[in-house]
Symmetry: C2
Subunit: 255 residues, 2 copies
C-alpha cells in the first residue's frame, strides 16, 4: 500500500489582490493549485487586496504564526503591484496612494523573506508583479470616474514603472537564493497579452490565471522536487487501495 | 473602522469525490465558496473520492480533530453517492462494491453528525446525493470497459436506487434538526439536467457546480444568519480603511 498522511501540510499564498482573487470562478490560479494538490495539501489564500509591502509588515507575524518547515512546505510571495502604483505628482510619498518607493520595496521584500525563513520555512517562491496594460487601466478608470474626469487624470500604474519593481523582485530573489516567477516578462511574450490575460489591465482573466498557474507550478516542480505532486502522499488511502472485504486493515497505519 | 479578525475560522467540506473535486477548474462549488468568503474564512476540502460512509468512519476523528464552535463555524456533510452504488447481483454486501445498505447509511449519518457535534461544532449542512443520470453512467462505463463488455454489464448506480439514500439523508437531517440541501430533487427540476449538470451522470459540470453552489449558499444564508458574508469580519482591515498617512493606527486593534 502507498504511504499516506493524516494531517495535511499547507501551501500559503501570500500577496495582494492578485492572490486574494486567486480562487475566483475565472479559473483562479490558487484554486487550480488547490485542485492539483487535492488530498495532499491545503492551499491557504493569504492575499490582501490593495496592500502594499509597507502595510504587509503589520500583519506578517500573524499571517505566518505557527508556520514551520513541516506544516508549511511552500509559501508564494506575490507583492509589488501596489507598491508600483505611481506616486502622486507632488512626489509626496505620504500622499494618498499605495505607492512605496523602490528602495523601501526592496527592503520590505528582504524583511518578508527573513520573517518567513526565521520560522524554518525554507521553500519559498517569489512572483514578480505582472505587466500593466495601460489601455486597460484607462478603461477601468473611465468606468470608475467617468470619461470627462478621466481625460485629465493620469492612470494609476504604467508598465515601465512596474518593470522596475519586477526587476527589483528578481534581484532580491537572486540575492536571497530563491526561485522567482517572472510574470512581468513571460506574460508580455503572449500575443495580445493586454486584453487576453488582463480584464482591467492589472487583474487576471481566465487565460491570465492559466498562465500564472502554469508558470508557478513549473517553478515549484523545477525547484522543489519534494513538492512534485506524485512525490506527495495523499491524506488517507486512495479508495482503490482500500481492502473492501477488510477495510479496517487499510487504515491500519493510522497513528 | 470596521471590526476585523486576526485568525480565520474555517469551513470544512466533508464528503466524497463530489467534494474532493469541488475546487476543480470546472467552477468547483467549493472554490466558489472559498472565493465568496475570501478574507473571512478558509474553506478546507475534506472530500475523499470513492469513500462510502463505512470507510469514512475510520478517518472521522482525524478529520475533525481540534475542531470547535469557534474555529469551525460550518461543516458540510455530503455523503451517500457511493453508499448508493448498487450491490452486486449476488447480494453479498462484502463483495467488491462501494455499496452500503440503507440502514447502515442511516446509522453512519447519525454517527458522523454525533461525532462532529460532540466537539461543539453545531452549524452543519447536510447535502443529499445528487440524482444519477443513467445514460451518462452507461457512456462512462463504455469509455472505461469498452462497448462490447458494457453490453452485458449493468451500470453502477441508478436514479431510483439513489433516491432512497437522498430520502434517508433528508429524514436524518429532520430527525437531527439540521438543514439539508436536497440536490436529488432540485437538480432534476432543471431542464436537460442529465447532461447539463453532469459530465458522467454523477459528477458536476460547471453548470452542476453552479447549481450546487447556489443551493448550498442559499441554505447557509437562510439557516445561519451569522454566516452571511456581510456579517463576517475580514481578516485584517480592508485596504480602503487603512489610514494612508498613519497606517500603524489602522492596525491598532491587533492583539
Amino acid at each position: 500500500m502507498s504511504p499516506y498522511i493524516v494531517e495535511r501540510p499547507r501551501f500559503i499564498l501570500f500577496g495582494d489582490s492578485l492572490t486574494e482573487r486567486s480562487f475566483s470562478e475565472e479559473g483562479g490560479w490558487g484554486a487550480s493549485l488547490a485542485h492539483f494538490y487535492g488530498r495532499r495539501v491545503d492551499v491557504l489564500n493569504r492575499g490582501y487586496g490593495g496592500y502594499n509591502t509597507d502595510w504587509v509588515m503589520f500583519i506578517l507575524d500573524d499571517v505566518f504564526k505557527g508556520c514551520n518547515s513541516q506544516n508549511t512546505p511552500l509559501v508564494t510571495i506575490f507583492v509589488g503591484a501596489n507598491d508600483a502604483a505611481l506616486p502622486l505628482p507632488e512626489g509626496n510619498e505620504h500622499s494618498s496612494t499605495q505607492h512605496v518607493p523602490l528602495s523601501r520595496y526592496r527592503e520590505n521584500l528582504r524583511k518578508i523573506v527573513h520573517n518567513i525563513r526565521e520560522r524554518g520555512v525554507t521553500q519559498l517562491v517569489m512572483i514578480t508583479p505582472p505587466p500593466v496594460y495601460e489601455p486597460g487601466r484607462k478603461e477601468w478608470q473611465i468606468q470608475r470616474i467617468g470619461e470627462e474626469e478621466a481625460k485629465n487624470t493620469a492612470i494609476d500604474r504604467t508598465n515601465a514603472y512596474t518593470k522596475q519593481y519586477a526587476e527589483c523582485c528578481k534581484e532580491v530573489a537572486l540575492e536571497l537564493d530563491l526561485p522567482v516567477v517572472d510574470l512581468w516578462t513571460s506574460m508580455q511574450e503572449t500575443k495580445g497579452w493586454g486584453t487576453l490575460l488582463f480584464n482591467d489591465g492589472l487583474h487576471f482573466t481566465p487565460e491570465g490565471n492559466q498562465h500564472a498557474y502554469n508558470a508557478i507550478l513549473t517553478t515549484i516542480n523545477s525547484t522543489y522536487p519534494n513538492l512534485k505532486v506524485e512525490e506527495m502522499p495523499m491524506q488517507f488511502p486512495h479508495f482503490s487501495e482500500i481492502d473492501f472485504s477488510n477495510p479496517a486493515s487499510s487504515f491500519g497505519n493510522l497513528p
